[in-house]
Amino acid sequence: MKLEKISKQISKWFDGRGPHSEIVISSRIRLARNIAGYEFLPRLKPERQAEILEKLKSAILSVNVGEEVFFIDVAASSELEQDLMVERHLISHRHARGKGPRGAVIAGTEAFTAMINEEDHLRLQVFKNGLQLTECLAEINKIDDEIEKQVEYAFSPKYGYFTACPTNLGTGIRVSVMLHLPALKMTGQIEKFFNATSDTDLAVRGLFGEGTEAIGDFFQLSNQITLGVSETEIVEEFTNDIVPRIIDYETLAREELLSSQKAVLDDKIQRAMGLLKSARLISSQEALFLLSNVRLGVNLGRIKDIDISTVNELFMLTQPAHLQINNNKILDSEQRDIVRAEIIRKRLSQK
């Protein structure tokens, strides 16, 4: 199966390159769509849900959405396979553990995925590395246009694209950037960042780990308003205003740390390296925390012999489902900690 093949590589959008990649890891745009004449998921009978799955699957597979495109029957996948897709951000946790006929169409590069029968009938997603929201929008629009030639979306002039939840109504768009903000975190400013966004129209979430608890200084910033603001307006505001300002602040905080607390910073970075290179047991939480410091070290030129893509690869491959699928066996949490430490040790000692 295809999943086993992708489980050993890093996603294209996570390769550590792209515009502003020292801070912006990746850009993602998601569109929510529903088919006219069908109930939303909470009221959809299993036969009708299966009909939608077939209809959308064949529509999407007939469109050019990238190379080596494949379909996965999520309902028939094992929990481990589902978790692997969640860890790679290909599907959501909700989709993984959802009810009834559902599936995902995934492009081999993982730059495109479509979730069928998640919260809405269709959720299209396009990912790119670095800050590339404009490019994501152009691409997802093209795909959406092609699909629309084959199915009729539920739409009204007043409300736009109908969605199961009113918080997605209108454009159905969710624009997100994944940010690495270790210096803002170290200087204690990230809490303010969270507090500030709680009363604005932006949502901040930890990228790895559960809920709002952000582990390893990764954050996901997304728009909240989907009605009455056009797709282009949202993307332009993110690209020209919001993200550049956050980049400036993180950069400034990094510079300040470098100029006034160089020893403290180097100590953190080198200790992280030391631990990762010598630990024999390491939890995913500790790994994320330490790798984040190493990533900062590489980006600031304090660590010279490691490439950023190596660090990203370790983030991806040391997650629980990845460890188990790549080792072909179920591992309990202590066994995972052993394997994780081993992979990291080997990778970081390679020259």
Partner: protein
């Protein structure tokens, strides 16, 4: 660079603050910074940054989903969804709910969508002609409101003509 306070040591701490949208820079040596009580911690008022930045697009937002009156027992004629069930599951049953439960849903939509109530943006290419016309009218009405607000009466009159022409 010289420290702005003691005018003796080299400034190693550079503060950038944004107050009322004005960028202000301060350069201090480490001792003076400490004296001023400026731990590295509180140098950048990100909350201020974000609030100025977002003032233009944001409007007060309360809880995600508004309370629904207990007596609201209306249900959708095609799927049977009620406001009470929606409140529990946070999801609607079909696209019809937006029309049939509009009285109760509208305020919730407005609250969640920063005060907005009508769509702006992409329209399916295969949308029926009359709905495309409706969208044009909706957009022109919005332009009209903006023109009136900006006291651009000449433009407003033109937009009004165009709306009448479409209707």
């Amino acid at each position: 660079m010289q420290c702005q306070r003691c005018k003796d040591q080299t400034a190693t701490i550079h503060l950038t603050e944004i107050n009322n949208g004005q960028r202000q820079e301060t350069h201090l040596c480490e001792m003076c910074a400490e004296h001023e009580g400026l731990a590295i911690k509180s140098q950048i008022p990100l909350n201020e940054l974000l609030s100025t930045l977002l003032a233009s697009q944001s409007s007060p937002k309360e809880q995600p989903v508004a309370e629904v009156a207990a007596e609201d027992e209306k249900s959708c004629s095609s799927c049977g969804m009620t406001m009470r069930e929606f409140q529990k599951g946070r999801l609607l049953g079909c696209a019809n709910d937006y029309e049939e439960l509009a009285d109760s849903l509208e305020p919730i939509i407005e609250k969640n969508q920063g005060g907005n109530t009508t769509h702006k943006g992409k329209v399916p290419a295969n949308a029926p002609e009359d709905s495309k016309k409706q969208i044009k009218i909706l957009n022109l009405r919005r332009e009209l409101e903006d023109a009136v607000e900006n006291e651009d009466y000449e433009n407003a009159a033109q937009i009004r003509d165009r709306i009448e022409h479409l209707q």
